[in-house]
């Protein structure tokens, strides 16, 4: 019996109709074999659009449906649902993308229309060969994995744990807290960062539903939505967490003093250390590379003094496999390396510092006890803050890092307050977009901060006048005055931008998620699914998705938590049936597919001597299908018949 196919061409407002003559595509489709009806409509995804399809299925007895509109990533689920609601199996539907792959990439209406016809023709030919498939349902494990214990991960962890679900929070560093723990105050309210962060850190540490795995990282992640297995590497702290009371005696007695990473190298820490006194967990770790026992085989002073016998030099790193249903990545960002921009002299000229170093100077428990000091121990009387270092710069990162304008103004305020110095801000554009931000800008203006509109060209110590001698001179074109200015100052603060973390590639690989052009993790939809990823059950939040300030990061942490909880509360999820299948009669048992499968979804049945696909683990990537030398593997909804029909139609 011949199929009865319905074809629906969407205008997408003017997105498609402006470049493609939809009427002509409909006329063309009407003439194709087995097409019962072809229609056009302004918005196929709208309710009336979907009703059109449903009505035709019921009244005309359609057996196959083609919608020519946008990318399947956008609305395939919408139309599949509509088809299913009208009583047709959802896989008897095919989407023809005439927007992203046609109208949006052409300015020539005639050619675009021809192209649209070709795309629609291929879909019509293909849909004939499509088969009904059954959707499987699997239960969702209610445990959640959160990677990254900065403010975003903390917020997500607390939200989920408070709802009664179990959270595994994995943090690479010895403590949670992230960058926020290093900040002095936060814009625009000037709350002390520690005052608002440490209570949350303590809650995480004490929460009965949160298992905090610090000094750990994720090395493997497998499974499928609702049923993942995460492999966690727990690095050796050489301190037994259950025994340690956090008294700090070991740190006090340790004879080795090295630059503290937490203080940006401006202060010292010991070889056995907590990054800062409010660390959570309040357990020190031994830095193997610096410890005298590990490097020279002597000392063990910490062990001698520990009243609880918690020091264990024999501790080894361990691995744990955790069963979780969903994961939230909140892995944060790296700061741009200011030494890459040679003309600002970072690392070459004394008293050129980064914004994070300023935060440490300004922090009451920082290396200078909150004093802003020059290398010679004196207070600066002139400070320049240079915006957009590594951001909005085609030599480095093209994007705006979003937080620097605001934190630069916060630094101006703190510098002014603590030193009485005259503060200059060299900016390209001032972006004070958030709630209370413009008001903060006004406040900083009123504090007589001098704003010079112009990106600094360089910082030099080559004086041209006696007033410049012994100073750092910031050279910039003042684009409001149209002149080049040279401003001598004592201290230069470089407002460095935010970058994807160095291990982003690795994390993306482990979790099989994509990255956008700028290197950050890619969200499923920039507006409508900002914390979802293309992998079901894996969410992203905070600055790992793109530069974000604290309010936005916290909002995303909470949003990711809500997404995870919504999935958990569904109790079960459906799995795409578009997986690989093996024709046992043709399988030669060569096992090539097993080694190639990126998801470990194929195993070997020794009794039958054939490979077997685990439907739940298979993601339908098609690698095995292409590789099978016997042609024994096919993929549902991507069978040879379907693909060849499509290709044939395009080439016809």
């Amino acid at each position: 019996m011949a199929e009865k196919i319905g074809v629906y061409v969407c205008h997408c407002g003017t997105n498609i109709a402006q470049t493609v003559d939809c009427k002509s595509v409909v006329d063309y489709a009407s003439g194709l074999p087995n097409v019962t009806v072809a229609r056009e409509y302004q918005y196929m995804c709208s309710d009336p659009g979907q009703e059109l399809i449903k009505k035709d299925i019921k009244e005309l007895g359609l057996t196959r449906v083609v919608v020519a509109s946008c990318s399947p990533l956008m609305h395939e689920p919408t139309f599949r649902r509509a088809v299913e609601e009208a009583g047709l199996n959802q896989f008897l539907f095919q989407m023809a993308n005439i927007r992203e792959q046609c109208s949006w990439i052409s300015e020539n209406k005639e050619m675009a229309t021809e192209r649209a016809k070709s795309i629609v023709g291929a879909a019509v030919k293909r849909v004939e060969f499509q088969e009904p498939l059954d959707v499987k349902k699997v239960p969702v494990n209610p445990n959640v994995l959160i990677v990254g214990g900065g403010i975003t991960g903390i917020e997500a962890a607390l939200q989920i744990a408070d709802s009664g679900k179990k959270v595994y929070l994995v943090e690479k560093e010895p403590t949670i807290g992230g960058y926020m723990a290093q900040f002095d105050k936060t814009f625009p309210t000037l709350d002390c960062a520690a005052c608002i962060l440490t209570p949350k850190m303590v809650s995480v540490g004490q929460h009965p539903n949160i298992e905090l795995l610090s000094y750990s990282d994720v090395t493997g992640f497998s499974g499928y939505v609702g049923n993942f297995t995460a492999r966690i590497r727990r690095r050796a702290k050489y301190v037994e967490e259950e025994k340690c009371s956090g008294c700090g005696l070991c740190t006090e007695k340790c004879p080795v003093s090295v630059p503290s990473e937490f203080d940006c190298g401006l202060g010292k820490r010991k070889a056995i250390y907590r990054p800062f006194p409010q660390a959570v967990p309040n357990v020190p770790v031994i830095d193997r590379d610096r410890c005298l026992y590990f490097t020279k085989g002597v000392c063990k002073v910490c062990q001698k003094f520990c009243p609880r016998g918690a020091i264990n030099f024999e501790q080894k790193e361990t691995y744990a496999d955790l069963q979780v249903g969903t994961a939230i990545l909140a892995t944060g960002f790296d700061l741009f390396d200011a030494s890459k921009v040679k003309q600002y002299g970072y690392g070459r000229l004394p008293n050129v510092i980064t914004s994070l170093e300023f935060e440490r100077f300004s922090h009451a428990s920082g290396p200078t006890g909150g004093k802003i000091l020059l290398k010679n121990g004196q207070m600066p009387s002139n400070i320049a803050i240079l915006h957009c270092i590594g951001s909005r710069d085609t030599n480095f990162n093209e994007y705006c890092s979003r937080v620097c304008c605001m934190y630069s103004m916060k630094i101006a305020h703190l510098a002014h307050e603590k030193t009485g110095a005259r503060v200059y801000e060299f900016y390209i554009d001032l972006r004070a977009f958030g709630k209370g931000y413009e008001e903060f800008y006004k406040r900083i203006l009123e504090e007589e901060t001098i704003f010079i509109r112009g990106k600094a060209a360089e910082v030099t110590d080559v004086a041209q006048t006696s007033a410049e001698r012994g100073k750092l001179i910031v050279v910039a074109e003042d684009t409001l005055l149209g002149i080049v200015r040279r401003i001598p100052v004592d201290m230069v603060v470089l407002s460095v931008g935010l970058e994807p973390r160095k291990d982003t590639t690795e994390i993306a690989r482990i979790f099989s998620i994509s990255r956008s052009q700028d290197g950050f993790f890619l969200e499923r939809h920039p507006k409508l699914a900002p914390v979802s990823t293309a992998s079901d059950g894996i969410f992203i939040a905070g600055a790992c998705q793109g530069p974000k300030d604290i309010p936005d990061s916290v909002a995303q942490g909470a949003a990711a938590a809500a997404n995870a909880l919504s999935l958990i509360d569904r109790k079960e999820v459906t799995l795409e049936p578009t997986v690989a299948f093996i024709d046992e009669k043709s399988c030669s048992g060569c096992k090539i597919c097993i080694g190639l499968c990126p998801y470990n979804a194929i195993s070997f049945d020794e009794s039958k001597e054939v490979s077997v696909v685990n439907d739940a683990l298979c993601k339908g990537c098609g690698t095995c299908v292409a590789a099978c030398p016997s042609g024994a593997i096919g993929q549902r909804n991507f069978t040879d018949d379907q693909l060849l029909a499509e290709v044939e139609a395009i080439c016809a």
Partner: protein
């Protein structure tokens, strides 16, 4: 290693010693430099801003001739480097310009497909020849000779992907291989004032003065140059600077290839070192044995 060689106009005139020493050290290091047949002006100086298309045409003609040789094109003048690279770049990006130039070249029975890579000799020496090879040729190290490495404005800007654009280090590196001591020279990529001498001499002299000041204060005994115009400006205007600012600079200026030649054991005469305006004799006698 074979290259086409484009000397450029100044190397036939005031900067003969640069040409001489460049060819000599290249030969020593096994670099074959074959001078481009029938080359013309690169199109630099004010030409580009007054008659842009014609300037590109001048460049394109050189590039078209170079393309027939199927070798990278080596230049020693950063202005030639910038202009030739700029035309290359623009022709690659701008279809209309490419077509216009193609039709003009056709009139001279030439064509250009865009395959020539233009490179500065310094970059070739550091990237292609490298530390090992260069160090083995050093027979007379320039031990403790304090040199200000001066790159000028155009070596890395705007097309210097091979080094840091704002704060290049290649010459510093090369000088260290020769045994010399490159001094801290923060003005290393600043304007020499050369283009200003005919239009606004006071500003030009001010720039020369700040360069000489900076080199002197950082303990330099001579300045190493990689640009013919910088070289002439620093040398020829020192007297005017001294007159205008009541200073007493006497800073010798040497092409980086001359310093290489010295380290490789060539005589002052072979390298044209006796031809400079401000004698380097005393400095070299103090630091380099048996010159």
């Amino acid at each position: 290693m074979e290259f086409s060689y484009y000397p450029g106009c100044s190397l036939e005139g005031m900067n003969k010693a640069y040409d001489k020493s460049a060819r000599l050290v290249s030969k020593t290091l096994g670099i074959g430099l074959t001078e481009l047949n029938d080359w013309n002006c690169c199109g630099a100086s004010a030409y580009m801003s007054i008659q842009e298309l014609r300037a590109h045409l001048l460049s394109a003609r050189n590039l078209a001739i170079a393309e027939r040789e199927k070798k990278d094109l080596v230049v020693v003048c950063p202005a030639c480097l910038t202009t030739l690279t700029k035309s290359n770049h623009y022709m690659g990006e701008d279809l209309k310009l490419r077509r216009t130039i193609a039709s003009a070249l056709k009139a001279a029975n030439l064509q250009y497909l865009g395959t020539v890579k233009v490179r500065h000799l310094l970059e070739v020496l550091v990237n292609e020849i490298g530390e090992q090879e260069i160090k083995t040729k050093v027979t007379r190290p320039l031990t403790s000779l304090k040199v200000a490495p001066y790159y000028g404005c155009q070596f890395t800007r705007p097309f210097g992907e091979f080094d840091d654009k704002e704060f290049p280090v290649m010459l510093d590196t090369l000088l260290k291989w020769l045994g010399a001591e490159p001094v801290n020279f923060p003005l290393k990529a600043k304007c020499c004032g050369g283009m200003l001498m005919t239009t606004n001499e006071p500003v030009g002299l001010g720039l020369v003065r700040s360069l000489l000041d900076c080199a002197t204060q950082n303990g330099a005994e001579c300045i190493a140059t990689i640009c013919p115009l910088c070289h002439i400006t620093l040398e020829a205007y020192q007297g005017n600077v001294n007159k205008k600012f009541a200073t007493s600079f006497e800073m010798p200026t040497l092409y980086f290839t001359q310093l290489m030649g010295l380290a490789f054991g060539f005589s002052r005469k072979e390298l044209g070192i006796n031809e400079e305006l401000i004698s380097s004799k005393a400095v070299l006698a103090r630091r380099v044995e048996a010159v």
